[in-house]
Amino acid sequence: MAENTDVYKLLIVDDEAPLLQILSDAFTSEGFMVRTAADGEEGLAQALDWHPDLILLDIVMPKMDGMTMLHKLRATEEGKKIAVILLTNLSDSTKVYDALANGAFDFLVKANWSIKDIVREVKSKLQPQKAA
């Protein structure tokens, strides 16, 4: 079968509960295994414990922000290779470029992307050989 039947593990880290919920619902419907975290501290713990295939990471969060979490993640063996897509708002652009230097895979601006686009983006990052 040409179809890839792997179930991917997705960690979503965002401090806004409604956004966390809708993304979680959408990706669950798409057949992903989803875990969520509401701040960088929780996100880092989950990432190191659960080893997700990809992380959707918000930047502005209390306790530990996305930038710091990414930095700490990349400093670990397991964390080096996890794909990370940053969720951001335009006003964070300087932070975004720093994060890209830190090995984030990509970034997207929340207000400009539809759920379908995000799902497509995540899938393409996880299955680069599959036709879009």
């Binding site: 409604p18 956004l19 919920q21 959408a26 209390p62 006003s91």
Partner: protein, 442 residues
């Protein structure tokens, strides 16, 4: 013998003639040229020509004097006019809000008006100093005090070109005067005589106020757009999920999604209202009209708005209203805003199942409103920033990400403009008690 007598007679005749005319010469020697020789021109003799010549001379002198006096009078009048005009110009220049400096072609100061002296200090009073040693200008980009050709005034005068720097300019200039460092706007204009630059004028003013207002507005816009993005994304994604769901959604889930959209929208409404209120306060377009207000009624009218949130968090409210409560004197909208802000904060930062206490007490000159909650409280290190614009404590941000940071800023402004006072007591995790005094009528 006859000869001697003739000679004697002639000598006497001459002497008589000279004696007749000497008063005129005596007067002339002291500057009085009014003498008249016409009476003694006759009879004609050897002296007549001399006397006629003298007469003409005296006339000519008199005419010349008259001309000179007329000229002097005219000059005096002209000088008076100039002096009056100079005094007028001087008073205009000194009543300008802006500082004015004049320089010669070598950039040495040859004029300062009073506002300039006030801004630059007494050292500006010494004329003929090089302008770059009195008008100490820092370019924000380099942080250095400019000198020589780098000094905009010197550059402008030497180059014969006008230059302006103001709030809109990319370059920011700071004037160093004594211990002050103020941002200024200025215009340098060379004074030209034909093609040659013979000096320059500098007009300048302190734009600290404008600069702060400008920055405050940009900050407000930046924060607004940042805070709006989350509810905008929420509405977008939930609506998207309802319109074209990946899999069929249950009716429960659909309702839940619609509620999320509604709440996000409410958040945006509150945010925009807060921003407008804060903006109006900043710009000064708020006009408060005090009326006789029953504060307990305002309390009752505000509670229903919070009912849903209170039910969700299982909060109760205890009201203690002084039976002798007088009417307060305050603008009704201001009172509503104050009540709403403080009550919604109490609800927002309470923990589940807690009680909120509201008390209204009658005091001598005011009504005291007290609102107490037992929730997350305000840590001591943030106490001095609580009422500042856009400030939110970190624990507040974690507990309730959807605050604007403007509520207490607006509340304080409203209270103080209405003649009251607001203060609080709080500790982290020990809840918070807010007190407001509202003035009473008579």
């Amino acid at each position: 013998m006859a000869e001697t007598t003739e000679l004697e007679n002639y000598k006497k005749h001459i002497r008589d003639r000279i004696a007749a005319v000497s008063p005129v010469f005596a007067k002339a020697s002291v500057g009085d040229f009014s003498g008249d020789l016409s009476e003694i021109l006759e009879p004609e003799d050897d002296l007549t020509e001399l006397f006629v010549g003298t007469q003409l001379l005296l006339e000519s002198i008199r005419e010349t004097i008259a001309d000179l006096e007329a000229t002097v009078a005219a000059l005096r009048e002209a000088n008076e006019k100039i002096a009056t005009e100079e005094a007028r110009v001087e008073s205009i220049l000194n009543s300008l809000g802006d500082g004015l400096l004049g320089v010669d072609k070598d950039c040495r100061i040859n004029y300062v008006n009073r506002p300039a002296i006030e801004m630059l200090g007494d050292k500006a009073l010494t004329l003929w100093q090089d302008i770059s040693s009195v008008f100490l200008l820092e370019d924000e980009a380099t942080g250095k005090i400019l000198s020589g050709d780098q000094h905009p005034i010197v550059f402008s005068v030497r180059g014969g070109k006008q230059m302006t720097a103001n709030l809109a300019s990319k370059e920011k200039y700071y004037l160093h005067a004594g211990r002050d460092r103020v941002r200024i706007a200025f215009t340098v204009t060379p004074i030209k005589k034909g093609e040659e630059t013979i000096g320059g004028t500098v007009i300048f003013r302190d734009i600290t106020g404008e600069s702060n207002l400008d920055r405050a507005k940009s900050e407000l816009v930046e924060v607004a757009s940042h805070q709006l993005r989350t509810p905008l994304s929420t509405v977008k994604w939930y609506a998207d999920a309802l319109i074209s769901p990946v899999a069929q959604l249950t009716a429960d889930r659909q309702l839940n999604y619609l509620k999320k959209i509604y709440q996000a929208n409410e958040r945006m409404i509150h945010l925009v209202n807060d921003l407008l209120a804060a903006s109006n306060l900043e710009i000064g377009t708020v006009s408060l009209v005090p009326e006789l207000i029953d504060v307990s009624k305002v309390l009752e009218d505000t509670l229903p708005d919070l009912a849903e949130q209170m039910i969700e968090k299982k909060l109760t409210i205890e009201k203690k209203i002084d039976p002798n409560l007088s009417t307060a004197v305050i603008d009704p909208t201001a009172m509503r805003t104050i009540m709403q802000n403080l009550l919604s904060n109490a609800v927002r930062y309470s923990l589940e199942g807690q009680q909120i206490q509201v008390e209204l007490k009658n005091q001598d000159n005011s009504v005291l409103l007290m609102i107490r909650d037992g929730g997350i409280g305000i840590p001591k290190q943030f106490h001095n920033r609580v009422f500042t614009r856009l400030f939110r404590a970190t624990n507040a941000r974690s507990a309730a990400p959807d605050g604007s940071g403007l509520g207490l800023y607006i509340t304080k402004a409203m209270v103080e403009r209405s003649g009251g006072q607001v203060w609080f007591e709080s500790d982290e995790n020990q809840g918070a008690t807010f007190y407001v005094t509202i003035p009473k009528g008579e």
